[in-house]
Symmetry: C2
Subunit: 354 residues, 2 copies
Amino acid sequence: MTDVNDLALRLVEGDRRALARAITLVESRRADHRVQAAELLDRVGRTGRQALRIGLSGTPGVGKSTFIESFGMMLVGQGLRVAVLAVDPSSARTGGSILGDKTRMERLTRERAAFIRPSPSQTHLGGVARRTREAVALCEAAGFDVVLIETVGVGQSETMVAQMCDLFVLLLAPAGGDELQGVKRGIMEMADLILVNKADGDLKPAAMRTVSDYTGALRLLRRRPQDPADFPKAIPVSALAEEGLARAWDEMRTLADWRRQNGHWAACRADQARHWFEAEVRDGLLARLTEDPGIRAAMRAMGEAVADGRMAPAAAADRMLARLRGLGVAEDAAGDRTGDGAGDESLDAPRVCP
Amino acid sequence: MTDVNDLALRLVEGDRRALARAITLVESRRADHRVQAAELLDRVGRTGRQALRIGLSGTPGVGKSTFIESFGMMLVGQGLRVAVLAVDPSSARTGGSILGDKTRMERLTRERAAFIRPSPSQTHLGGVARRTREAVALCEAAGFDVVLIETVGVGQSETMVAQMCDLFVLLLAPAGGDELQGVKRGIMEMADLILVNKADGDLKPAAMRTVSDYTGALRLLRRRPQDPADFPKAIPVSALAEEGLARAWDEMRTLADWRRQNGHWAACRADQARHWFEAEVRDGLLARLTEDPGIRAAMRAMGEAVADGRMAPAAAADRMLARLRGLGVAEDAAGDRTGDGAGDESLDAPRVCP
């Protein structure tokens, strides 16, 4: 039995072992763990501490691990505490895990001011989303200054990570101009900063060309009124030679400060919180179809009837939904009614800030 | 007030105006229309008629309209009745609609044995899916022999269409070998037949090369034990010169007959029906969050509390879900319990046959 009170205290003191244990708790699917996790999150959520949450995406081979190691070491050298989390939707299928091989970040792993957590292997992106968000909240409560959330370039996971970050950074390798299309437009549009890695040795000219190509491509995207005119931007870095990292950090802070001052930061966090609340309600509602043994059995029985042709899909769904009535919330909730029913469009579209 | 009884009778007699009106009814979001639509579907669903449902995908410019016109005219010439439906997820955003310009199928439009229905403009892919499935069922009840369901090459809509079809056909334009990657692997894997269009005039050599390229690419995909050894296959057609269409139809019938005989056809339709039942239950459950004014108001109020930082997202979601309890189905449904709770994995993954 976990002593949530004790765990919360040690976590807020910045104890890394407590943080690791707390994350394990929020990753658990056991019902009693879920209750404890909720209690823990509620308790530590009151610290009001905010880290700079940086989403970092890039396909395998661009040098994410090396970048995180070099960049993380630089931040630690400046007296900052750095947490690294990973979101890897592919690990569910392959059983593998990014960041799983901590030896690729040998120096950072040994730093007392750093915390590295590999991705949990989950079968469901919604589950990964919730657990990652909660892990981010725990890292903030533990007093980390920067939380890096790493993901691989496969679309949906980027969107998810961008929805829990203050800044979204895309790490790319040098490429020929015609490969520029390889980065999906949707991911380009999410990026606040593009870092072209491996700007060293033989690859330097190609890296500089790539920077210039992406600078051009970024200009074609919609301007963001809340940001300085030269953002989003592309710059060269070399994780290996540890060059350009200080500038990358400067750019990130410039953008973050700018957004803090014009209110965008707070508005974005508020929007994200609302989005995640709605997503959790939806996930929780759908979970009942599989978690409750009675409902699950009814779904299976009706599914068989539909498969056998004894019932039409729509008619069976109507009948099932009728059984799922008795929500009884319409009446209860009426007292909460605060407006004219407008504004519910926020229930539909997940949002990425900015 | 629609006389559902009369509409059902005329529909089953093959009356095209009744079919058009019935589809308008199932496309409506009005609650009273939904009730009538369910009644209509229930009534006409008992005919037991089955059309050959063919999904047809291809990016704009490959000649889908011309192909449908030529292919449809050939089928009509053989005494078959052909319905054409469209699924266009982009129309929600642009307001445009594929098949909207019926003049591009001038001849087919005038045929009494043909029925062409442009895509409804919807904001929600789930809604489009339900309406399209219901329209397909209506076309089958109206005695059409072939239902062509057209969509554009944008991923999600292909999967959706494949989930309501017996065969999935991909229409491509001639291309250089290096463009082969332009077709997403996921879509390739769904295709039963690849038709390389424009195999006429100057483009013929390029078309033949493309056929050979795709033949090679298809061999690399997993074999389907339920199909003849040479499927999926790629063949050349010219919609303009009306060449290769008879062969394309032969291939489709060969595959369909094969699957009918080995039971795959029936198993696939059963699987699809179950999948759509489950999808409708999920959609219906989520719809309550926005449709019920009380729930919507409560969601908005809690969303504001979360955005303001007065509540944590997870805590607010738990509270909302607690209010959404009283489902009271666990008890009721217990009587239906037919097994050990296994087999519920079917609730998660949408499936495409084969």
